[in-house]
Subunit: 339 residues, 2 copies
DNA sequence: CAAAACCGTGAAAGCGCTTTCAGAGGGAAG
DNA sequence: CTTCCCTCTGAAAGCGCTTTCACGGTTTTG
């Protein structure tokens, strides 16, 4: 019923093997023959059968994206869409398909063994909370994995990351330079490397300036707007309140801003505010948010390239690659010390 | 190297056929044998090879979700995540995987023929702009498709939808009941049925009340917050300005609200505002938004069930099913006529 | 000018599963 | 005691492709 490679071969007067070579762009095929085969393909509008191809070649041309978070939280923050877009861009170029593992992100069995089952050739894992499921999966899975952001306990996994610590430090040093002294921070989740690193950068800057890190000024969030709102409310109960706040993500900064507004405080008039990520929204906020830019799309592209390059070279050597992308301080209006 | 079904069969002392029967829960297998096979599977931690299974059975257990929009717009609105979540829920229950076709939503070839290529067993298409690509794809693809929202020109496609027209009418009648007379609307895209229907409901309500539909009071948006903002700015240039605005999506209502605030107008003090969708944000806005609730998650679940049921019955008869889900008027604080 | 290298091609052997078919055995029906 | 019909099982034939191997023919090399 469906057109198969045999049909094409017969139509072009060649063997199945040759037809396969043409489709896969293998060398050593007479140009005239090559053209005959292509013509047959065009005439019949032939579409190769993917499962058959996967079975025979052991390559599915599909990679998975694994983000261990509920799907709605996943899309509340523009970070992930931008990351995925970067990945998708590279995958499209190289004719790979992407499977967003939604089972992981909803209520299904997390981490079904799509790799061992021959479905995925590789996977990109992002924003990895180091939970038991993830580690178990990584241990059992046999396909190449690239991580966006490091996973502490799995040093063998290639990753692409930004220098969170350095970026955060630059930012907080900027705050100190503006004259702020009682600087609070709303951190990311401390079970994620990015969360810990940005906090470390905050500490670094304070230490370097001879300022103490006071635990009352440190509140843990989870990168979401809501958590930023709540954390800010906590900070506002301090006496005196902080004179500036470094939120470890722009979305948390947004939440914090809303809490400040609700409390009748103005930014930067009454209190300075800074974020991290430089999502598009940051520039559009009032006041425009001072933040640290991380090249999110590039992060995705790089991760995809790392993975696809690895898949292309059949060398089984575990190429442990690490790529660090630079961050950049973006100074806007949300933390200007008023005299 | 990898464990195959043959290994399992040998280990359990049965034929490959029997092992396959056990795995697929076929009847007519001796319980004792069944248990032996399961034990072998457990002991070896066997994972069946998916491509091989697809090839042999012609069923991949994967469905596609196709939303013909750039990925970042896709996630700016909570509508799609909620829809996807609904679909994912049902798919997880039935051991199906979901492929979010990101090639469609980014810059790749839209609509690769994943179905004809044996990769997808079925597809759900949502928010379908009736462009040439979509129609061409629908014409060529041979797998079952279910649509969320109708596609005018393709009446044969089963769909699940809400009664947009009726919902919009109820809402606008509520506005009229509040005493508003100069009621503007920011419509959805008019090349999508939902956009046209909500506008039709608006017209219905005005006609029924003997009010004219004035073209200056109708501005087309595209469901996005940004478009709501822009459209509201347009409406604010009218003299006099409208006394109420019906935005055909909550996100557009949010955009409109921001434009009103920027113009120094208060809602509902100076102007009434209403939306459509009842996304979680609607209740959280200040003022809380009066809107029309559509059961987004249920929409996704129903679509998935329709598709999966269809796949389960091998009957080739094109079962054209239509499901309409109810909408509900949700009255909050954004359009209360002040006396 | 023989040997070696290379090019272009087809036959055939799988990849790991599902599914049909046939058959053995046992109990119920005639 | 046949005949028929279940239940359970294995052999075998694919599903549609890739890839190895072998082989003739043509070039290049020493």
């Amino acid at each position: 019923m469906n057109i198969t490679l045999d049909d094409i071969a017969r139509r072009a007067g060649v063997s199945r093997a040759t037809a396969s070579r043409v489709i896969n762009n293998h060398p050593h095929v007479n140009p005239a023959v090559r053209e005959r085969v292509w013509q047959a393909i065009r005439e019949t509008n032939y579409q190769p059968n993917l499962p058959a191809r996967s079975l025979a070649s052991r390559r599915s041309q599909v990679i998975g994206i694994i983000i261990p978070q509920p799907i709605h939280t996943l899309f509340a923050d523009p970070y992930f869409p931008l990351l995925i877009e970067g990945i998708a861009h590279v995958c499209n170029e190289r004719q790979f398909s992407i499977m967003l593992d939604l089972a992981t992100t909803t209520d299904g069995d997390p981490y079904r063994h799509l790799g061992r089952r021959g479905f995925l050739e590789g996977a990109i894992v992002a924003s990895a909370v180091e939970d038991q499921f993830l580690l178990q999966w990584l241990a059992q899975e046999t396909i190449p994995v690239v991580s966006v952001g490091r996973i502490t306990s799995q040093q063998a996994i290639p990753f692409v990351d930004v220098n969170n610590r350095h970026g955060a430090r630059m930012l907080v040093e900027h705050l100190i330079g503006q004259g702020y002294r009682r600087i609070a921070t709303i951190t990311g989740p401390m079970n994620i490397v990015a969360g810990r690193d940005r906090f470390a950068g905050y500490s670094d800057a304070l230490h370097a300036a001879g300022l103490p890190v006071m635990s009352e000024l440190v509140v843990e969030g989870n990168f979401s707007e809501q958590s930023g709102f709540t954390a800010m409310q906590t900070l506002l109960r301090l006496v005196p309140i902080p004179d500036a706040v470094f939120a470890a993500s722009d979305m948390m900064a947004l939440g914090a801003l809303k809490a400040l507004r609700a409390a009748g405080l103005s930014v930067p008039g009454d209190i300075g505010l800074a974020g991290f990520d430089d999502i598009p929204l940051a520039a559009a906020m009032t006041p425009a948010l001072t933040t640290v830019r991380q090249p999110i799309g590039e992060l995705g592209q790089t991760a995809a390239r790392l993975l696809l390059d690895r898949l292309a070279t059949d060398s089984l050597a575990p190429v442990t690659q690490r790529v660090m992308l630079p961050t950049e301080l973006v100074i806007r209006d949300s933390c200007v010390r008023q005299r």
